[in-house]
Every structure is written in structure tokens, then in C-alpha cells.
Symmetry: D2
Subunit: 488 residues, 4 copies
Amino acid sequence: MAYASPPANESGADKPREECGVFGIHGHADAAALIALGLHALQHRGQEAAGIVTFEDGRFFSHRGPGNIADNFGDESVIRGLQGNIGIGHNRYSTTGETLARNIQPLFADLASGGFAIAHNGNLTNALTIRRKLVADGCLFQSTTDTEVLIHLIATSRAESLVERMVAALGQVEGAYSLAALHNDTLIGVRDPHGIRPLVLGRLENSHVLASETCALDIIGASYVRDIAPGEMILIDSDGVRTAHPFTPQPHRFCVFEYIYFARPDSTIEGRNVYESRKRIGIELARETHIPADIVVPVPDSGVPAALGYAEQSGIPYELGIIRNHYVGRTFIEPTERIRHLGVKLKHNANNEVIRDKRVVLVDDSIVRGTTSTKIVEMVRAAGARSVHMRIASPPTANSCFYGVDTPDRSELFAAQNTVEEMARIIGVDSLAFLSIDGLYRAMGETGRDPDSPGYCDACFTGDYPVRLTDLSGRKADGQLSFMTRLA
Amino acid sequence: MAYASPPANESGADKPREECGVFGIHGHADAAALIALGLHALQHRGQEAAGIVTFEDGRFFSHRGPGNIADNFGDESVIRGLQGNIGIGHNRYSTTGETLARNIQPLFADLASGGFAIAHNGNLTNALTIRRKLVADGCLFQSTTDTEVLIHLIATSRAESLVERMVAALGQVEGAYSLAALHNDTLIGVRDPHGIRPLVLGRLENSHVLASETCALDIIGASYVRDIAPGEMILIDSDGVRTAHPFTPQPHRFCVFEYIYFARPDSTIEGRNVYESRKRIGIELARETHIPADIVVPVPDSGVPAALGYAEQSGIPYELGIIRNHYVGRTFIEPTERIRHLGVKLKHNANNEVIRDKRVVLVDDSIVRGTTSTKIVEMVRAAGARSVHMRIASPPTANSCFYGVDTPDRSELFAAQNTVEEMARIIGVDSLAFLSIDGLYRAMGETGRDPDSPGYCDACFTGDYPVRLTDLSGRKADGQLSFMTRLA
Amino acid sequence: MAYASPPANESGADKPREECGVFGIHGHADAAALIALGLHALQHRGQEAAGIVTFEDGRFFSHRGPGNIADNFGDESVIRGLQGNIGIGHNRYSTTGETLARNIQPLFADLASGGFAIAHNGNLTNALTIRRKLVADGCLFQSTTDTEVLIHLIATSRAESLVERMVAALGQVEGAYSLAALHNDTLIGVRDPHGIRPLVLGRLENSHVLASETCALDIIGASYVRDIAPGEMILIDSDGVRTAHPFTPQPHRFCVFEYIYFARPDSTIEGRNVYESRKRIGIELARETHIPADIVVPVPDSGVPAALGYAEQSGIPYELGIIRNHYVGRTFIEPTERIRHLGVKLKHNANNEVIRDKRVVLVDDSIVRGTTSTKIVEMVRAAGARSVHMRIASPPTANSCFYGVDTPDRSELFAAQNTVEEMARIIGVDSLAFLSIDGLYRAMGETGRDPDSPGYCDACFTGDYPVRLTDLSGRKADGQLSFMTRLA
Amino acid sequence: MAYASPPANESGADKPREECGVFGIHGHADAAALIALGLHALQHRGQEAAGIVTFEDGRFFSHRGPGNIADNFGDESVIRGLQGNIGIGHNRYSTTGETLARNIQPLFADLASGGFAIAHNGNLTNALTIRRKLVADGCLFQSTTDTEVLIHLIATSRAESLVERMVAALGQVEGAYSLAALHNDTLIGVRDPHGIRPLVLGRLENSHVLASETCALDIIGASYVRDIAPGEMILIDSDGVRTAHPFTPQPHRFCVFEYIYFARPDSTIEGRNVYESRKRIGIELARETHIPADIVVPVPDSGVPAALGYAEQSGIPYELGIIRNHYVGRTFIEPTERIRHLGVKLKHNANNEVIRDKRVVLVDDSIVRGTTSTKIVEMVRAAGARSVHMRIASPPTANSCFYGVDTPDRSELFAAQNTVEEMARIIGVDSLAFLSIDGLYRAMGETGRDPDSPGYCDACFTGDYPVRLTDLSGRKADGQLSFMTRLA
């Protein structure tokens, strides 16, 4: 949702970060409140900014701001101000300052045919290339997001209806997109032809709902209808639901990392429950990497389901040997050098009594930079573990994502720069093992990965990118990013 | 600076309101601080929002927000963040909410040739007509200001240089504009061909300054160089100052109300000191409307200089019979009905001891709706005045302004709806008299008003509008304002 | 820490709430930062307000505010402002408004012998009785906390040294108290003679630490030295650590609910690890209340360790059938009646795929009002459970706590008003069972509860209150609370 | 209102600062709104903090905060929250931080007989001496104000009724005090026996009003009844107004500086209108210090009335040669050294066209440190004045005030450290003259100052202090201030 060319993960958090959740509803008197609830259930997909746009009687209502849903929509007067039976909302990650305010979605534009709002999960890989051309033609951009390219393409399209303009615009962009959009009293959902990001359709009484994940249907008591198909455009208005498939069909390549880490465990995507998928991954992991040990300890919370699967398959007892402090806020005191060496543990603490003198299998979902793993292992050793064996519930993450996930540049990816043996030595474990790529596909119900038709986007593991990276290839040549940072 | 077609003065303040002050500087290491100081001196021209944009090394820095200068730029870190030796700033009136944020100037755009920022004092009278056409062509507007029309005309112009594009754009707009703009390291000043709003050039050491009034030069110790001429465009960069006169010459029609009320008394505009002009107006007023009385009392602060002139000419002693409370903030408790009838006096209080048993000549600069005058007279009578004679230091304000002053619609203008006798009866005075239009011109050093070449814009008094009102004539036909209020 | 007489739990949260965490440190250059970190680890003991007081060179430094630790101490400049090598801190629950500000601890007083700050975990049961007498003598109270009574007793004591005055004051109060106090450069820790609340001593390099739980030592890398003994007063200054036992010895009655729910699982209290105690409770629970089922599902997060023990003992698989949303903030939209009936699930969501068609054993730590249990069971049933058997890892909570835990009045306690059969019917389960009181003591390593010397405070289960409830007995007679609410 | 012993005027503002305004009302349904309005009219007496306490049905309601009245009471919900028909309010100066919050008045205490709130204008000169004794007896102070001493004296008094306790307490304090207090449903007003600070009684319909000045009666339409007499205590409850004179009578010594500078020009104090008194002072000044000149220019706004009197008496024309910017906020950018030398004029600007080539008589009310005068003269000279003659409408301010006015220490008082000739040289004028002390008394209607019975407190001019300075004499001996700054 931000220009992907230079992958940036400046916070230093050692996890890939999903870059958005979207939600839309048509036909409910409490539209704004339900959107806020839906976004709350999707909070794990983006916590740094949020927005809602609603529509009623020719007017649009908008509230957007930095912070999470409760920060922005906890005040009843805000919800009341968002009038209407129809609206869309968005969660995102972002940076700070004025830049932030301009980039918070849903983006909104006054088109000649009426107002248009859009919320985007994914990332366009040729947005910079298109933007450069549009600016030369006199288009004025108000944000630095890739998403705004779509709006200008729609605005300047010569096609007649909004839908035709939108199809024409989407026909020019490359990359991943699951969209919820609003044009007057029509709610629009679109998923890119590869279906890289999720999008589902639900129903609540007489109203229709679009959401990134099924957990956002559950929170408001809506029933799940079906996943929006890759390449499908869905239009919802007072006449009901219409569907179209206006794009050239492409092989389906849903992001497998949604199953490994991003999606909420209680969501079900394309027929597969996320929690159960993770347990099966843990089972495969135990099959491939078994080692004698006394306890299986998850790195909470993301390693929990895989650790349960590992323990079940291996017969080694599952223990909560690491406790997570859930009160960690967005900011906290930056320790001075003097106290940093004390090994301050803001987020995790080892439970010494559980770990002391044990051979520990530590289970985590993935390793990005390796920094967190190093700290965790150090902590577990300090708690008296006899040996530490780390098991990772995915193959090594050796490639950056350009389809809507905030991963570091390859040069900072632990698995891109080190062999497994080097990684084991750096993070200080007695043994380290990753799930194989075929093991991952087996956990997903396949017999292994078919290189000709893998069925999932697994580029972060394999480097096999399903959509070309237009902006990236031109990036070094002309430094095209400079103009976007003009207004600091 | 906002679409003028529907004159709106929703605050109910019973004074016309100037709609902006602009300031620019080129070549000073403390550019941002000096702009903030200059805008502080221009605070009377707009107190509801403020912004500064600076430029350094290919990057623009911006800070804009609701409130006055001290609210927005009182924090040293804000000033420090506005890097560079060049920048522009703007004070404005505005409404509330998100709309406000989008409308606060300077507006900024990323053009293909670089960043462009603009600050506008005045109002374009065909902005809606142009905007409608631009939106149909696919232009996306991010504000509801008339000023943004200029930016899109510049962005979509086919002319080669920024200056040529800017001239082409200005050639299409009608109305009043004094502009300070920034294109990379060039500072640009423009005044419309009629010269309706003021703009002066100053010098501080080796740097050049643009400002709405000379008081903004004084505050930073800059020397006055000259007024920018009507129809002049001035370009300031590291090569120095260049000037051009690219527009068809027009009769000069500087706003005479700047002398009567808007400008600060210590400013000098086109060679005439404002305070002295007001005193001369008071002298003319006394000549035309003399009546025997005991004291001359100004309605503070705006009536003070004319009252001094009136007292000097009439020989009647000048007394501070009304005290103004300068702590009045932007908001205050809305009195309940129960206490409103007590005649609460937040802003003015009569000094009973001075007024009791006196025949009072009350001097004010103008009457807009008549509501404040009514309250003031009631207060002076309650203080025991024997008789109250109101003298107004301008002709009756019987027409709305469309050139950058926020006046009510004609239907709410006191003088448009009532004869002088009716006005006197409504506000409750023993006598009421206005300065004649010829008296006003005499005070300005003329022998009277020449209808063929009046020399000033005096449309609010005479209805003689120097620039045509394109948007206004089409307004009722198609309600073109609706689309602008879409995003509430 | 607030007057306990009228137990109040107005938030409606259906868990008892611990009312404070305390922390103190002596002799470390980063005292304030370490206190903030310690309080962060104790955040579960109080999240509605926090404060730190430090001392240096005759001056005290204080920062207190509503909200959690990161809200109040996330800004580095706040930490820097809290100068000195010695200080104390406090987490608490509280209500809103000005009242709140006055009540946030540490409380501070200027005594003739110097400044005195105090942080209190627990509750005094005769504070109102003493307060009434002190007010009659002319003492002015600035807060409505029970803790302030201690300060006035110290201030008006005729004993010579501060320590003697403090002992004299504590000799007059009844109830539960674990205190961290500061008098100039002396750090003081005290635990009431029954030892109802926890308090431990730790060591970090050359500095000494006091904390409510060991997890607050772990976060800063401090080592555990020992638990402060019931009735012990410990004095820490530049001469080292001195200890005293100035009170009449009493039977030890540590709060058993700390093991069941309050304390963090990674803490170890009086030699017993909390997580392992909870697992043993789960094992006892399975022994006593076994029933054939397909899965054991914890109510997260508090039911997790007992559910693991239950699953281990019963051989029934442990599954995460309920997912908790950790982004729940302190406030959120109050759903309208219209959407409340949709069964909005802000905090928990059932994982339908896991639960469908299963016989479910639901494990929770306790039931207070029963409202949450009812919603959880309804949600689990809606997810398709074949049957639902609730197992509670403690005896029925049938009595209010007056020793520092915020529980509802007896009239609102589910177990005080209903038989087990009635409770099962109301919350809608197929079966409901609680751990027996003897089972609880077995899990704590005893052979059962010895009524003559139970060893723990278990008044919430048994009604056997170890300290008399002076204020409570007089409460109805004279409504003595009224004067405290005078300043709304 | 703060401990006066070390006179402190840290802001560097070059005017003495009044330290408070008080207001009270009994028997009006809009009590809180009317108090807010009254305090707004008294805003000139204190702008850094404000508070209101009201009473209804046994409960007190309070809102206090830093900033001016509109900042704190502009929100209607705040006013609505202040329930009741009776209340008091206070404006004050203060410093920053937590200290501020604790010191904002009205102070409130829970006495055995009910709640008690107090607002104080003036300063007690033996407060530290008494405080030291009270602390030794075990009293806990929550603020660092002198006023709190009164509350403890009342609380610990053995007298029976609140009124008797209050009289006993006031009998022990020395200094200046005009008080508005609230004890349950009784409104109490007291003025010290010398009557140093003002206090008036007004009436609004059926309710009674206490206020520091009559302008606070005017704003709400209340009528003036009379001044509270020196040494008078007035009690207002539902039975009406009672009065008492419980203190030993003393010579009346009303602060003459209230007439010179503090009070609002539209107020009338003890029968003398402030504006007219200032004009008469200007007339005396012209008589005593006449010099040939072209124009009389006031330093706005405080010099305006005296300049009008001077012009009237001397026949030299009055001109607004200096313009004041009323938008100056409480904080603003701290100019860098680089731009400070530009002579930035945030507050005043010379009107060059008025001043150029003129012999100027500059009239100001007083000189404190001399810094502002120096800048003003420099500015007037830069504007082209031929000569500058400064005339001061009071005698030289050579002594600090200890009775409620914030003046610098003697070592910083310009007139205490320099002869008139030296002062003239330092501020750079051609001539400088002050009003004589006898001239001041003549302006007040006397024939001159009677040293045996001057009738006014004029200590700042004469050093003749009517009330002894107990704290001051002991100050150096034991540094008794230290304990008050303990909690930074």
C-alpha cells in the first residue's frame, strides 16, 4: 500500500508486517460502528493508522487518524458523525508526521461522477512508473501511496461509467490488491487476478459485508458467504450483489505467509482454518526435524499453534516457558546504554522454574533479521536450559516481499545472508532447523511444491515472484523516489 | 481565498473580515522564524489558521494548523523543522473540521518540474466555473479553496517554464489576488492587474521580503523598498530580483476598505499611512456631520483614530468611555438564555463615570449587520448618556465584497436593507450619520470620487464592481457548490 | 488502597482486580528508568494510574498520571526529570476525574523531618474510623485513599524518629499492606504481620530492589534475594540493609488468589512458581471433576495454565478453541442497543473449526459475576460445540475481599447467590464443577485445609477473614463515607 | 498569594503583576457561568491559572487549571459540571509544572464541619513563620501557597463555629488579604484591616456578588452595592447578608498602585473611577514636568489615560505613535541570537509617519526594571523622533511589594539602583521625569502626602510598609524556604 520498491521496516520489529486490513458494509443503519468493529478484529493487519468513510444523501463523511481503532473510533461522537448505511474502512502501518495524515486510507477523491473512496490491501509494483507519467501530464498527487495512482487513472480515464474506468485503471497496474471502494451508494470489492491478498464476502441480516478475514465477520455476528475470487470485481448496491471477472485470468497465488503468520488463527481462508493449518505445520516440522528433548516451548504468541502441533506429534510436553507481556505499548522508554546491557525484557520473560535444567525445543513461526531470536535464546539459556533447539515453522525467509508485506531489504534478511549453520551459531542454539518448502505444502494439503504451478505465492522463501517488479528494475537508474519526499 | 460566490460570515462577528495575510522571504538563514514573525504582525488579517512552507536542498518543509501564529509556531522545534533560507507563509480565516486541514495555506503540489507552494490573499470570481471544467477533465482537488484552481491550471499547462505556466494560469482567472509562491529556490510575488489587495517588497540585510503590509517589515527590522505594482510579477532567486508585467494593464482599484478598517494603523500602503488616513477620515466626518456634544467616544479599537480626528476637528473632548477587554479568546461559554438577557458584555464595557449625563458622539469605522452597534448604544445609554450620536467613518456598506473580504450576503447588510433613518431608529441613537463617498475620497487626498476613474475599489459602498462576478451569475442555475461539500 | 468498606467494581469487568503493584530501588544511577521497567512488569496489578517519586540532594521529583506505565513514562524527558539514585513507584486502579489525580500514588507529604513518599498494595480495614478522628482533630486530607491515613498518623506521631513514627502509625491500622516508602535517602519496605500481599527483595549490581513480584526483578536483570517476611520492616540506605520485626507476630495468611489469578505466571512467590501452581491446580481439578470429552479449551489468557494441567491429567487434547484479541483498549465504542444484540465479541472469538461437533471442557480460573462465562458459553455453543462442560480452577467465590482486591459486593457475587446447579443452568452449560477447597490446598502442597491454621487467606472462598473489618461493621450506622465525596 | 518573602518575577515582564482576582456569588441558578464571566472581567489580575468551586446538596464541584478563563471555562460541559447556586472563583499568576496544579485556587479542604474553599487576593507576610510551626505539629501541606496556612489554622482551631475559627485564624496572620470563601451554603467575604486589596459587594436580581473590582459586576449586569470595608467580614447565606468587624481597627492603606496600573480603567474603587484618576495623574504630571514638544504619545495600553490627561493639560496634541499588537500570546518563538539583534518587536511598533521629525513626550505609568522603556525609546528614535522626553505617571518604584504584587527584588528595581539622571541616560531619553509623591496624592484629591497618615499604601514608592514583614526578617537566618521546594 506504500511504494514497495524500497522495502522498509524501520521500526526494527523483527517480524514481517502485514500492511493493511479492509472492511466494507452496505445497507446497515449502524454502518460506521460495524466498520469500526470489523477493523478492530483486523487490528493485527495494521495498527499505526485507521480510517472510515461513509456515505449518505450525496455527502461523504470521513474520519482518519494515526493510531489503532480504539484510539480513533472509541469516541461515540466520532461514530455518530459518520452518517449513512454504507461505508468502508482501513487499518494500516505508516510512518509519522504530516506525511502520515495525507497517506491514511481510505483515500478520497471528488470525481466528476461523484465522490470516490478506496481502501487497499496489497502493493502495486509499477506504481512509481505510472506516477511519473501522470505527474508529467499535470496530475497532482496528495499522498505518497501507490494507491493514489489508481484514483488518478480512474479520474483521467475516458471510459464512460465508473466501473469501466475502474477496470481500465486496474488493467494498467501490476501487483497485489484486495480493494474495498465506495462510489456514492455503491460498495465495490476487487481482488487481483493472482488473488495474493484475502477478501471475503459476508452477510449480516439484510446487509452485505466485505472483509479481509472471516474474524471480522465473526465479531459482528455476520455469516460467511464466500471468498471473493481472484480477479473478481463485486458491486453491491440497493439492487443487490453483482459480480464480474473483467481481467485476464492468472494462476492463483495466494500468499502462504498469511497462513504462517499474518492471519488471525480463528480466520478461515479459502476453506482452510488458520489455526489448524499452523498446527499441521507444527506436525510436519516435528516429522522433519525431531530431536530428543524435555519440553516444547513456543515463542508467544505467534509460535503457539505450531508448538502445539510439534508437541502432539513428538510426544514432548508443551510448556509455557516464556511469558509475554501484553501491555507493551507503541512507545516506551529508550533504555540508556547503561541499562541496555542489563538485558531488559520488555516483551518476553523466561519462566525460570519451567526451563531450568531442561532440553528445550523452541518453536517460532519465522526468522526475519534474527535479532529477536538471539535475545530469546539468550534469555532461555540464562534461565538455565540445558540445551536449546530452535525449530522454525516455515522455510528460511530469504527474499523480500513486494506485494504488501513490510519486509527488510534482502541485505538485512538473516536467511539471505547466512547458512543454517551460521544462523545457529549466531543465535546461539544447539541446533536450528526450518520446515522444508515441500513440508510447508504438505501441511497445506498438497503432496509438495509443484514448481510449475505452486498454487501459493511463496516468493519470500523461493524468490519465485508471480508478478513482475517494474518499479524495482528501474529504481537504481533514476532515483525516481526523490520527488515524493519533497514535502517532508 | 475561499469560493466567494456565496458570501458567508457565519461567525456572526459584526465586522467584515479580511481573508488573508501573506509573507515570503528569500536568502535568510532564519527564514522560518522571520516568516512566523511577519505573519504575527499580519495576524489581524486572519486568525483561524496559519502555515509556512520552506525549501532547502530539493526538499520542502511544511507546518500548517488551525489557530493563530503563536499557537502553531510558538514551539521552537517547529521552527527548527522548517529548514532552509527561503519560504512563504499565510494567515487565514476558515471553518472547522477536516475541511479546514485541507484548506490551510500555503497549498503545496508536486509538479513535474519540482515542488510548488502558494499563499493567496484575495478571491477569484470565476474559480467555480474553472473548477467544474478541470474536474471533468480528471483533475482531483484536495481542498475546497479557489486557490487550488490556480495550481491545477499551472500543472496542466502546456507552456514550458514554470513562470510561463503561471502566467498562462493567471491569465484565465478573474478576481483579486496578491500571491506569494515558491517553486524550488525561487520566490514569486504577483499582484492582480487591478491591484485590489496590497503587497510590498522589503529588504533585510541581503535578503528580500514580500509581505501584505509594511508592519510585517517593521517587526523584523526590514526596510521598505516599494509596493509591488498592480499586474506585476516579481521573481526572486539567487541571481537577485527580476520583474515582469505579463498581464493586460487595468485601471488601479486598490481596496479603500484597507484604509478604513483592515490594514494595521502603523502600515503605509501606496504612500499613505493608515493611521493618518483614518484621522483625516475622522476630520472629514466631523466637517460633514458635526453636532453639539460633550464628549467624543470611540468604539475601541477600530474607531479610535477616526474619533481622534473627529475630536480634533470638532473641538469636543476625546474620552475613553468604552473599555475593551483584550483577553477575549476565540471561544467562550455560550450564555444560556437565562443569562443572555442580563446583557453580558464579554468584549466591551461602558465606563459609567465618564458617560453619565453626557451628550456622546460615538465613532465607529463601519456598520455591517448593525447588531454590535445596537448593543453598544444600549450599553452607553445604560451608563447614563444624555444623548447618543453615532458617526460612522465610512459610507453605508450596502454591497457584499467578492474580492477577498468575508461580508454577509446583501440580505443581511444593515445598510442594504434600511434607510439611515431606519438604521438610527433600530440601533437606538438620537442621530446617525455616515461619511459621504466624496468625503471619503477627499480624506484620501482627492477632490471627490470620479465615477469614470474612481482610483479605488469601493464596491461595498457603491456597487461598482471592477472585476466581473462570473461564478455568481451562474450560481443559482446549477448549484455548483454541492460537489465541494461532499467530504464533510 | 481505596476505602474497602463498600466493595466497588464499577467497570463491570467480570474478574476480581488486584489493586496495586509497588516497586522501589536504592542506589542505581538509572533509578527512574528501572522503576518504570519494574512497574511495566507489574502492569497486570493496576493499569489505570501510575506514579514514580525519586529523591536527590534534598529534593523530591514526582510524576504521576492516569493510564499505564507506557502512557506516563514512555517519554524520555519524563524519566530524565526524575533525578536521583533512589525512588519508588506504584501502579493502581482508580476512577476518573480530579478525584483520580489526587489519589494517584505514591502519595507525598512534607514532614518536619523531610519529605515522605509512600506506595501501598493492600487495603486498611479501619481507615475510615481513623480518618474520622483525624479530621475532627484538624487534619486535612488531600485524597480519598486509605493510604493517606498512614501519612497523617506518621505526621502527628510524637515519636522521635521517622521509623518509630512509622511503626507507631502501622500499629494503629488494621488490614493488608505491602509498602514501599521513601524518606529522604532511605528506602523502606514493610509487609503486614499476616503477609497478605507479596513483597520481595532483589539485588542489581550494588543496588537493592523492592518489588511486588519477582517478574519485576527479572525485567531489569536483578537477582532474587528473598521474600520480605510478614511483619518485617526493611530499611535500605547508604549503610546497607537493616531489618526489624516491630509488630506482634500473627499467623501467616498469604492471599491464595495471587496463585490462582493475580500474580504473573512467571513469578515465584514464597518459593512456589505461579505457573506451576496453576498447572497443579488444573491437575487437581481434573482429578476431582473428570468428565469424558473431546477437547480441553482454556478461556484465554487466565485459564491457560490450569487447562494445560487438566489436559495433561485427563489425557483429553488441549486446543485453542477461543482466540483473544489483545488490542482491546481501555475504551471503545459503546454499541447501540441495535447492534448489541448481534453479540459483538470485542475480546474473545470462538474458533468454529476447532469447536464444531466437539464435547468441550472449558477451563477458567474463577467466576465472579457470571456474566462473562455466560457470553463465552453462548459463543462456544454458537460455534457448534456438542456439549460444554465448565471447570473452574478455584472454589466458588462467595465472599468479598477487603484486603486490596476489587470484588463486587456479596449481593453481586454469582456463587454467593446461586447453587452450583443454578449457576450451571444460568450460564448454560451441560455441567459445571469447581475445585474443592481441599483440592486447592493439595495443589499448594498441603494435605488439605486445616481450619485452625489454614496458612493462606482464602476468605473469598471460605468467609474466614483473618483481619477484622472495623469500618465495615460501622458503615451502615452513620454513612461515614459522605464527607469523602464532597469534592466531586 | 504565594510566599512573598523572596519577591520573584521570573518571567522578566517589565511590569509589576497583580497576583489575583476573586469572585463569589450566592443564590443564582447560573452561578458557575456568572463566576466565569466575572473572572473573565478580572482577567487582567491574573492570567496563568484559574479555578471555580461550587456547592450543591452537600457536594462541592471544582474545576481548576493553568491558563486563562476562556482556556479553562470555555467548554459548556465544564460549566454544566459545576452544579449549584453558590460558588467562588479565582484568577492567578503562577509557575509551571505539578507545583502549579497544587497551587491553583480556590484551595479546598474537608473540615469536620464540612467542605471549605477559599480564594485569596493579597499576600501574608508571616505565612512561612506559621507554616514552620504547623508542620512541626504534624500538619501536611499540599500546596506551597501562603493561603493554605489559613486553612490549617482554621482546621486546627478549637473555636466552635467555622466563623469563629476563621476569625481566630485571621487574627494570627499578617499581611494583605481580600478573600472569597465558601463553607457549605455560606459565602464569606473578608478584607484585611488595612484594606490593602479591593473587594466589592454587588447585587444581581436576588443574588449577592463579591468581586475584586466593579468591572466584574458590570459584565454580568449586577449593580454595585458598596465596597467591603477594611477589617469587615461578610456572610451571605439563604437568610441574607450579615456583617461583622471582628478585627482590631487599623489605619486604611489601600494600594495606590491599583489606581496607577492594576485595576481596570472602567472600575470604580472606594468612590474613585480608575480612568479618571489616571487622567488626573496625567494632568498633575504635565503640571510638574512640562516641556515644549510636538506630540504626546502613550506607551499603550497602560499609558493611555495619563497621556490623555497630559495632552489636555499641556495643549500638546495626543497621537498614537506606538501601535500594540494584541495577538501576543503567552508563548512565542524564542528568537535566535542572530535575529534578536534585528530588534524584533513582537508587542509594540512605532508608527514612523507619526513620529518622524517630532519632539515626542512619551507617557508611561511606571518603570520597573527599565528594560522595556529602553527598547521603546530605541524604537521611537529609530522612527525618526527629533527628541524623546519620557514622563512617568507615578513616583520612582524603588521598593518591592510584599502585599500581593509580584515585583522584582530591590536589587533589580531600576529606580532603586539609579538616580533619575542615570536612568535617563540608560534608557536614552533627552529628559526623564516622574510624578512627585505629593503630586500623586493631589491627583487622588488630597493636598499632598501626610506622612503620619498617608491614607494609601505607597510602600513601593516610599518604603513605608504598613504591615510588618515577619517572614522577610527571618529569611536569611534559616533558609526556611527549602522545604517547600522539595517536591519539584
